[in-house]
């Protein structure tokens, strides 16, 4: 028995010590999995007011988190949560979610609005919201299949000035009617 324990300890010792020494800092997955309680497993949201993060570009995630952290973007929980992470951790989370497949949602949408939005989107938004909103230029978020209620909340914040609209977006949004904007959101929500 003594022999057995000694041998066991000796054999395992190397592993145990190395495990202690190398206890790695939180990985991108460890950091990002914690977000999934609110944003869905791998960032695919099932809650209409919480955005899917899956398939967003790392630039879009990092931009959003930095603005939450600084207070530049209005928030409820996100302003505080963003302060819990270093820039390197935020970058790691951005990369994690950018590698996930875009999350397809099934939403009740208005067909006429989708059609109207489809006719407006290319000319008005297509410079930044690329590929029918499946991708975004630079830090522009992907909008395809994003939850309509989430996008409506964001658009309301943009229009009220609570959230600062990018200049290029202002140019396009200002002349548009509320009905046109609503149609655009229905269109993006419908893209699979």
């Amino acid at each position: 028995m003594t022999m057995k324990w000694s041998g066991w300890a000796l054999a395992a010792g190397v592993l145990a010590v190395s495990a202690m020494a190398q206890a790695a800092p939180p990985t991108a997955a460890m950091l990002s999995n914690a977000c999934a309680g609110c944003h869905g497993t791998h960032g695919g949201s099932a809650g209409p007011s919480m955005p899917s993060l899956a398939g967003q570009s790392d630039k879009a995630i990092v931009d959003a988190m930095k603005k939450f952290k600084s207070g530049a973007r209005p928030a409820t929980v996100m302003g505080r949560l963003a302060k819990g992470y270093s820039d390197a951790e935020i970058a790691a989370m951005g990369e994690f979610f950018s590698k996930q497949k875009l999350h397809a949602t099934n939403q009740t949408l208005d067909k006429a609005k989708i059609a109207k939005g489809a006719s407006l989107q290319e000319a008005n938004c297509g410079r930044c919201h690329l590929e029918d909103g499946k991708e975004g230029k630079d830090d522009t978020p992907a909008m395809a299949s994003q939850w309509l209620p989430y996008m409506q909340i964001q658009m309301a914040d943009y229009l009220s000035g609570k959230r600062k609209m990018p200049e290029q977006m202002q140019e396009k949004v200002k002349p548009m009617s509320k009905a046109d904007l609503e149609a655009l959101l229905h269109f993006y929500a419908s893209v699979k």
């Binding site: 324990w5 000694s6 066991w8 300890a9 000796l10 054999a11 395992a12 010792g13 592993l15 145990a16 010590v17 190395s18 495990a19 202690m20 190398q22 206890a23 790695a24 800092p25 939180p26 990985t27 997955a29 460890m30 950091l31 999995n33 914690a34 977000c35 999934a36 309680g37 609110c38 944003h39 869905g40 497993t41 949201s45 099932a46 809650g47 209409p48 007011s49 919480m50 409820t76 929980v77 505080r80 949560l81 302060k83 819990g84 992470y85 951790e89 209620p149 909340i153």
Partner: protein, 424 residues
């Protein structure tokens, strides 16, 4: 070589036992099973997530989820049902069929009757199940011995705790509906720590909302064993003043030590009697029954000490404890905490079983409370390990600035997402 096994483990700390078990999985150095099976006990906020994430991270590991019920009812949001904002518990109920279909989790509906840590066997009502790793997420049990006259089986039928969601939640609601207008509702709150720190105060808000509309002359009397409101104090006081002025009688440092179910009264410190038409006694709490059976409860006889990285018990190797039962440092006993803890536990179980390095814990808590039909508040925090303990990352912990309809909208999506994550 004079180092015996016990000193060896002590020397290297909790992480060593994980690494040792990594050998067990591949080299058969300890334990009779020699396989790669993780048994998870408890299908709530922690257990479902541990089971699912282990399978997602390594589908070669067999995962058996043992749960006595064929469904789970969420405690978070159950106060909304009690207040009359939900017609039934369906929005709070999940089943396990998709965890099986989507992730290959083997769901065993059985009652756990024993755990043999030495031979790595879980004894259940339907037979023995061997494990290489055991994850316990058994929620809470009540320290009924601290309340004179409290009978674990009989008392909740008269004075519901409704602190485990399901029939108890429905019973409390029924009692409120049946109560004559003018009757008082007594809520007794145990000393912290208990499951869901803001929960009792949210409950008081929801009940007051119902009384205001349907029971003129009735009010809520809160008997709080704690010296003050435990969580979101300013927000609750603001909400009560705004919506339920005069309807909530909050009394601090009033510890219920005795109950009289026939006289429908509670006694504070054995002296001061308070009567109620409906009495919601939330008893003091401890780790779930199974944790006691498994011998992973600490010297306080209440909660389970764990390694803050792996959530492995410091008392028995290869047994991990997540959720309300474990001592997770600065993290509150909440559903979201359990979700985060289970993921970190799953990650490090998979890594240990595959001989890979362990990863430090990173987790989040988000917890919403409703103050009225349309307004909610929340508390959040990011948590990490620092010097061997789970701490809140400075700057990340805080509460809503005010009562908010927007928060209530987000709260609904919180519920949808977290329950979907647990069940699909």
């Amino acid at each position: 070589m004079t180092l015996d096994r016990r000193n060896f483990i002590k020397l290297l700390g909790g992480a060593s036992s994980l690494a040792l078990a990594a050998c067990a999985g591949t080299g058969g150095l300890s334990g009779p099973t020699g396989g790669r099976r993780v048994v998870v006990v408890g299908g709530g906020y922690g257990g479902t997530i541990a089971a699912k994430y282990i399978r997602m991270m390594d589908s070669s590991i067999e995962v058996v989820l043992i749960e006595r019920n064929d469904h789970f009812v969420s405690c978070p949001f159950s106060n909304l049902y009690i207040g009359g904002l939900m017609k039934d518990l369906t929005p709070l109920t999940i089943k396990y069929d998709k965890l099986a279909a989507n992730h290959g989790v083997k769901v065993l509906q059985a009652e756990v009757t024993g755990v043999d840590a030495a031979t790595k066997v879980v004894k259940t009502s339907t037979g023995d199940v061997t494990y290489d790793r055991l994850v316990l997420s058994p929620g809470i049990e009540f320290r009924t011995e601290e309340i004179k006259g409290y009978d674990l089986a009989a008392t909740p039928e008269i004075m519901p705790h409704a602190w485990k969601a399901g029939p108890q939640t429905i019973l409390l609601r029924k009692q409120l509906e049946a109560m004559k207008a003018g009757g008082n509702v007594v809520i007794s709150i145990p000393l912290a720590p208990f499951r869901c720190p803001p929960g009792p105060y949210e409950r008081a808000s929801m009940i007051a909302m119902y009384l205001k509309q349907h029971k003129p002359g009735s009010k809520v009397i809160i008997l709080d064993a704690n010296p003050d409101i435990v969580s979101k104090k300013g927000l609750f006081l603001k909400g009560w003043k705004k919506h339920y002025d005069g309807l909530i009688d909050y009394r601090a440092a009033k510890k219920v030590t005795e109950i009289d179910t026939r006289g429908m009264a509670v006694l504070i410190e054995g002296i001061e009697e308070v009567k109620g038409a409906v009495i919601n006694v939330i008893p003091p709490q401890k780790a779930g029954h199974i944790a006691h059976v498994a011998g992973v409860v600490g010297t306080d006889k209440k909660w389970c000490p764990v390694n803050p990285m792996t959530f492995e018990s410091t008392l028995h190797k290869n047994i991990h404890v997540v959720g309300d039962s474990c001592v997770a440092g600065a993290m509150p006993k909440s559903g979201y905490s359990a979700n985060s803890e289970a993921k970190a536990c799953a990650t490090n179980i998979v890594n240990a079983m595959n001989g890979k390095e362990l990863i430090d814990f990173s987790g989040i808590n988000t917890c919403y409370s409703f103050l009225s039909a349309k307004e909610a508040v929340e508390v959040t925090g990011v948590y990490k390990v620092d010097k061997g303990a789970i701490i809140a990352v400075p700057g990340s912990v805080g509460v809503s600035p005010d009562l908010s309809e927007t928060e209530a909208i987000y709260a609904e999506s919180w519920l949808k997402n977290i329950l979907t994550e647990m069940s699909t």
